[in-house]
Symmetry: C2
Subunit: 368 residues, 2 copies
């Protein structure tokens, strides 16, 4: 992994973006903003899943009062998503938004932009220049150049007004185009980047596209906050975001299951066991200690099983209707298949108790 790109730090509410802060996870509500209860419910679910910033569409004047009430009650900073109508940005700032996202493709008049900047400056909140390939009005050779040019032009207007609390996103539904755009932009400014692939599609395809796009950039040290777009439940967006960050060891969110795909050698119901373990882990107390990195191997046979299981903190390598429990590379004991789940849960809990007793807390937790 390359060193992370040096970026300015901005703050969305209590969440730091850039300047070496942990890479934060955001999502966007899919409920009608005017339905306050439904939107608050979605935000609560997002928070429980690990989301740290929620974006909300502010479509019209009738959304401003609901936005205000949502901001008051949401236990998470809210970024207002503004398009077409500059007045809505001013109103959203008045309503208490912790950040504003503008789309250079549809809020263009200099005097409008300047008025929004003035208001954001007074409220001490940052602005995101959120470029999407689907709404661009600049000319350049390639789509990535168009996105970069659009963002740079917009940033200049903000800078001229003495405003630097800027985040930038350059999203296309094309993975390669998006990667190219962020790479180019990373050499041209030090503003923190919000990463994402836009309109990435239905769940599986969007997960693949986002993992490749966001994952490639993060490996190059590019990216300060991420939002995974899925045509699916917003909680799943957070789940995918967490897996991307943990796969790259940028953050950890508790136990990770290492499990084999199974094959003709497997003589236990590994898929069932892993599903069961996942569901048990998801209902475990999500307190700070359970965010400690921990690998739990569940391997279906003797080929890679013992190896993988012994590298993991805890592991089981299964045989015929039975298995061997490992702890930090050492065999603990033999188990029946029916004992796998309870033994693993017990070991995981013991690991947390142990960590709690010897250190001051998991790193990721302390930094939030």
């Amino acid at each position: 992994m390359t060193k992370r790109r040096k970026t300015r730090k901005v703050r969305i509410g209590n969440v730091e973006i850039g300047g070496n802060a942990p890479i934060s996870i955001q999502s966007m509500t899919k409920t009608d903003t005017k339905d306050i209860a439904a939107t608050l419910r979605e935000i609560a679910e997002l928070k429980k899943a690990g989301c740290e910033i929620a974006r909300i569409a502010v479509k019209d004047r009738d959304s401003i009062n609901p936005l205000k009430k949502i901001i008051e009650k949401a236990r998470m900073p809210i970024e207002a998503d503004i398009h077409f109508i500059p007045q809505l940005a001013l109103d959203a700032i008045d309503a208490g938004a912790a950040a504003i996202r503008l789309n250079p493709g549809n809020i263009k008049r200099q005097e409008d932009i300047k008025a929004i900047v003035k208001s954001a400056k007074a409220a001490k909140i940052p602005m995101r220049i959120g470029v999407n390939s689907g709404s661009l009005d600049v000319k350049a050779k390639s789509m990535s150049d168009k996105m970069v040019k659009s963002a740079l032009n917009y940033a200049k207007i903000l800078e001229k007004a003495g405003f630097h609390d800027i985040m930038i996103s350059l999203k296309s539904s094309d993975v390669l185009e998006t990667i190219e755009a962020y790479r180019k932009m990373s050499r041209l400014c030090d503003y923190p980047f919000h990463l994402g692939i836009t309109a990435a599609g239905p769940f599986v395809n969007a997960t693949v596209k986002s993992s490749i796009g966001v994952g490639t950039l993060l490996q190059e040290g590019i990216g300060d906050t991420i939002r995974i777009s899925l045509t699916d439940n917003s909680v799943k967006e957070v789940e995918v975001a967490k897996y991307i960050l943990s796969s790259l060891k940028l953050r950890r969110f508790g136990p990770e299951i290492i499990s084999c795909p199974t094959c003709g050698r497997c003589q236990v119901d590994l898929l069932g066991i892993v599903k069961n373990l996942q569901s048990r882990l998801s209902t475990m107390d999500r307190g700070p200690w359970t965010r400690r990195p921990l690998t739990v191997a569940v391997m279906g046979c003797e080929v890679n099983g013992p190896g993988e299981a012994s590298c993991a903190d805890i592991g089981i390598a299964a045989g015929k209707g039975s298995g061997v429990l490992f702890r930090k590379g050492k065999i603990v004991r033999r188990l029946k298949e029916s004992e796998f789940i309870s033994a693993l849960i017990k070991e995981i809990k013991a690991c947390y108790e142990y960590t709690k007793s010897v250190c001051n807390g998991p790193r990721d937790y302390r930094r939030r």
Copy 2:
């Protein structure tokens, strides 16, 4: 994208690997090899999903006769997966396997390896040196170095016996370790690579890890055939593999849905529409013409909708219970929400008919 790494070409049955052949998709059966009917059913499902090579575990002598029958009836080349018992490799070659995978961690005696090489050479089939981080016996500074060293040592034995029809895989359940290993190896030999993350875990996490790992390497021109390991149905492995290749424009497998994640602006049931469209597309005739690249945008509102919809081959940008149908950037007509699916399917079919009439076939199809 970097130019693809130059590699020697090997053949698994009718599928070319390396030497600029299209990147092929493989999977591994999860059924008991001795259950011939179940294994053949799984192979048929894999084929329907787009899998091009199936690997089968050969666990013991009792698996050899079933393997032979499976090879005779499977409409796909079969790679035999061998561990621990050298004789099984010889028997699998006799049974007609199109390729043999050996694990350097557990078939080690020089004379055993030489006997297998001799038999593979006579049968004109390639061998894969399939290193897994969970079963290694070499010493080196890092895990990636260990994997590389293990594969190189093994390759030397094969080379000394005059055998060069070699494929190499270096799989760890750690994404960064795996990427590092393949990168190092790519500078040390010209054998084609089989890419994958091993024991990647349950569906979503494994999809994320595999997309990042395999996607990163493919962008660097590394990789000739891929296998996605999921603790889930093998058909899903093929689905994820196809999405990885199509996201990077390395291969295309028919229509791609570009759809927005929806937000408070959306006034149609976009999730429902997209799911419905997906299921309609999956049951469409999978003949060669339907493998033509085609982007179908389904956008929930006016913000990026018209832009994304107009860049796509076909698209809908929805408004309140209605939408606008685009074809190659031009508005065709306004539609009611209830007409979305049938209109899109009709347009997709018309696109295929058009392609069929003006060219010799989609590129990806001609190359297989």
